[in-house]
């Protein structure tokens, strides 16, 4: 659906430029949510939330599947995150721990 990298970037930045969409993305990255359950979380119409979900879907950040009458949305982590990126985030966790260990050891020495 999206032809080239520039179009993909446009769709991605557009998708992430809205607070509600970022919130929806955070939720669906944690696990699958039905669109109707998402709609209940925001002070806007079901159709408006559905539209936000569609924008995220076009950017490749979210995928949808149907189950009965429900549309279920989940974050497409494969698209946006590689193993390398994940390890970089874990590295951040560790750098924080080591800084805290260092600080504690120095503090106890005094």
């Amino acid at each position: 659906m999206i032809e080239d990298d520039e179009d993909r970037a446009d769709a991605l930045f557009h998708a992430l430029a809205d607070r509600t969409r970022r919130d929806i993305l955070r939720r669906v990255l944690q696990g699958e949510h039905s669109v109707s359950a998402l709609a209940k979380l925001y002070p806007m119409s079901f159709a408006a939330v559905q539209k936000h979900v569609a924008v995220l879907e076009r950017a490749g950040l979210l995928t949808k599947r149907r189950q009965g009458r429900e549309a279920l949305a989940s974050g497409d982590v494969q698209v946006v995150r590689s193993a390398g990126r994940l390890l970089s985030e874990l590295e951040e966790v560790w750098l924080g721990r080591i800084a805290r260990i260092d600080a504690l050891l120095n503090q106890l020495k005094e």
């Binding site: 991605l12 990255l29 946006v80 260092d102 050891l105 020495k109």
Partner: protein
């Protein structure tokens, strides 16, 4: 900065961090042997850790929870495997329910921490391995890092793809 080396093995999904601390091996070991010290270094300031049970012995358990900014708790445990005080220990780190029963739906990491005397201090080597990328993803999403920045951090990765 005490970090001397970081190596990521993308295929094995492991992270190895080597750090030098200006304290004797026994002193560094006590960070892990003492639950009150462990909770001061384990969780980031936004997710402080509380160690509830602490048995750093082969077959022992360390149970803890981390409290998020809006008060929600993430329960975790260490299933301790080998312990050779004060040189090294190995354990599995997983998620649990509020009774500290392991949550088998969530990923477990295998960890080896090694401490050796080095240049009047201690060289610590931390190795953490996950079985799958999805597992590591889940761990990160569950509050080990601030979720609000991760969506934005994904942009350059996406553009590079």
């Amino acid at each position: 900065m005490p970090v001397v080396d970081i190596s990521k093995n993308v295929d094995a999904l492991s992270l190895t961090i080597v750090a030098d601390f200006a304290a004797p091996v026994q002193r560094v070991w006590e960070l892990y042997a003492d639950p009150r010290q462990l909770e001061r270094v384990w969780g980031p300031p936004e997710y402080p850790a509380t160690v509830v049970d602490h048995d750093l012995a082969p077959g022992g358990r360390v149970n803890y929870y981390m409290t998020g900014p809006d008060g929600e708790r993430f329960y975790g445990y260490w299933q301790v495997d080998q312990v050779a005080s004060p040189d090294h220990f190995t354990f599995a780190d997983g998620f649990a329910d509020s009774e500290f029963e392991p949550n088998t739906d969530l990923p477990v990491s295998e960890n080896t921490y090694t401490f050796t005397a080095h240049a009047e201090g201690t060289r610590a080597t931390y190795v953490t391995t996950y079985a799958t990328a999805e597992g590591l993803q889940q761990v990160l999403d569950m509050g080990m890092v601030e979720g609000s920045t991760s969506a934005i951090n994904q942009i350059d990765e996406f553009l590079a793809a």
